[in-house]
């Protein structure tokens, strides 16, 4: 019984990043504030970048792909756009992981800037060029900016979660 409980708790903590991205993709809850649109940010980007960089086994690429498809269906975008952007971001994170010897939040943050820039450029490019869908550029720039600014803060919170996961694993 004790072993079962330990396993359950450990698995639950492991599932938190996955639950966050699926909850954000599925539900109406997100961080796009209508009245304070300049404070909107994309938490899914932060979750994907952080966890693929830190512990890719927690957030499988297949789940990232699936979350992207769900997000597209809910928002009403052509199916596949979010998947590509999420996977490109995951690609950046995986690439940095293979190059980094000593991980640090500041270094990750610096790399997060070009990653978001490229990811959102691909997103814009696909929507504008291939599907002729108008996108609010300014809102997207603000969204990217706030996402970048919030990365270290949310990163610190995820560091705690990461430590809990390691502790639970070793119990």
């Amino acid at each position: 019984m004790v072993l079962f409980r330990k396993n359950f708790v450990s698995r639950f903590f492991n599932l938190i990043p996955l639950l966050i991205i699926f909850f954000l993709a599925f539900s109406e809850t997100d961080f796009n504030f209508e009245k304070l649109s300049f404070l909107s940010f994309n938490l899914i980007y932060i979750v994907i970048f952080y966890w693929v960089l830190k512990n890719p086994d927690i957030l499988g690429y297949g789940f990232i792909f699936l979350a992207g498809i769900i997000n597209d269906v809910i928002i009403g975008l052509p199916i596949g756009v979010s998947s590509i952007t999420y996977l490109i971001l995951a690609g950046f994170a995986a690439y940095v992981r293979y190059l980094t010897v000593e991980p640090s939040l500041i270094y990750d943050w610096i790399v997060f800037v070009p990653s978001i820039a490229v990811t959102n450029s691909v997103y814009l490019y696909i929507l504008r060029i291939f599907f002729d869908i108008e996108v609010d550029y300014i809102a997207l720039v603000f969204n990217s900016g706030v996402t970048i600014l919030l990365y270290p803060i949310i990163g610190i919170l995820f560091n705690f979660l990461s430590k809990i996961i390691i502790v639970q694993k070793n119990v």
Partner: protein, 283 residues
Amino acid sequence: MVVSRDDFSIAIRSAFLKKGTKQKFSLLALIIASIILLSLEAINSKSLNFVRSVVKDVVYRTSFITSMPGNSITSVFTKVQNYFEVYEQYEIVKSKLQQLENQKNEINYLKIENDKLKKVIDDTDIYNYESITTKVLVDKKSPFLKSVILNKGFNSGFKRGMPVLDGPYFVGRITEVNYLSSRALLINDLNSKISVVIEPLGYQAIMSGNGEKTALLEFLPKNHQLEVGGLVYTSGTDGIFFPGIPIGRVELIEKKFQIKFFSDLSQLYFVNVITSKPIGSKQ
């Protein structure tokens, strides 16, 4: 950190081709899968549309269930907020009621006159057609795209292009229809362009969504003498919508004439979809 060209290529290969211990797919394979899915979006076949419709119905229903806890918390906050605003609203309602009483008699007279004139010109309006009330299933507030998912689809006779009303006010049109659900593109979406008429001067223009709570007026006549307070209705000249559905009022915002909507597009719970079926028809 000194990195040679070999290290770069190894890192890129590892990132995109290598599968982790618990990964079932490589990144490259999934990116290719996404590109294939995107390419399929351009294909319009019956079987693909059916699959899309089923997937969307399932995702929308799941989304509705997932959103329930968040929505119930929001509704509690809204109820508390409304409670505190009751007195303020009472005062406003009281003064409005007085105004309405005065207008009522005038409206009755105009209505009779309008009905007579309509019979003369054999005009059609939305009140001659059946409307279906439907619930807003999901309202994901995207900063880039403004649309809502509705609880009914082609099982209820919905078709693409049908006007969506909040009470008597125009709020959008159906852009996607599945078996059990549909999507309505709201009039403040960047991709929404509707032909309108501005009364009392009768100017024709195009209302273009700007992603905000207002919409822009485009293609107004040169040297127009538009005034703040003018009422905006659908013109029906595009042949898609019925003419005369109220939309909003002209306001001067940031030195530009814009339309302030009568309806609050962020608070849509139930909407009416006007069908192409005349009232009283059997089919």
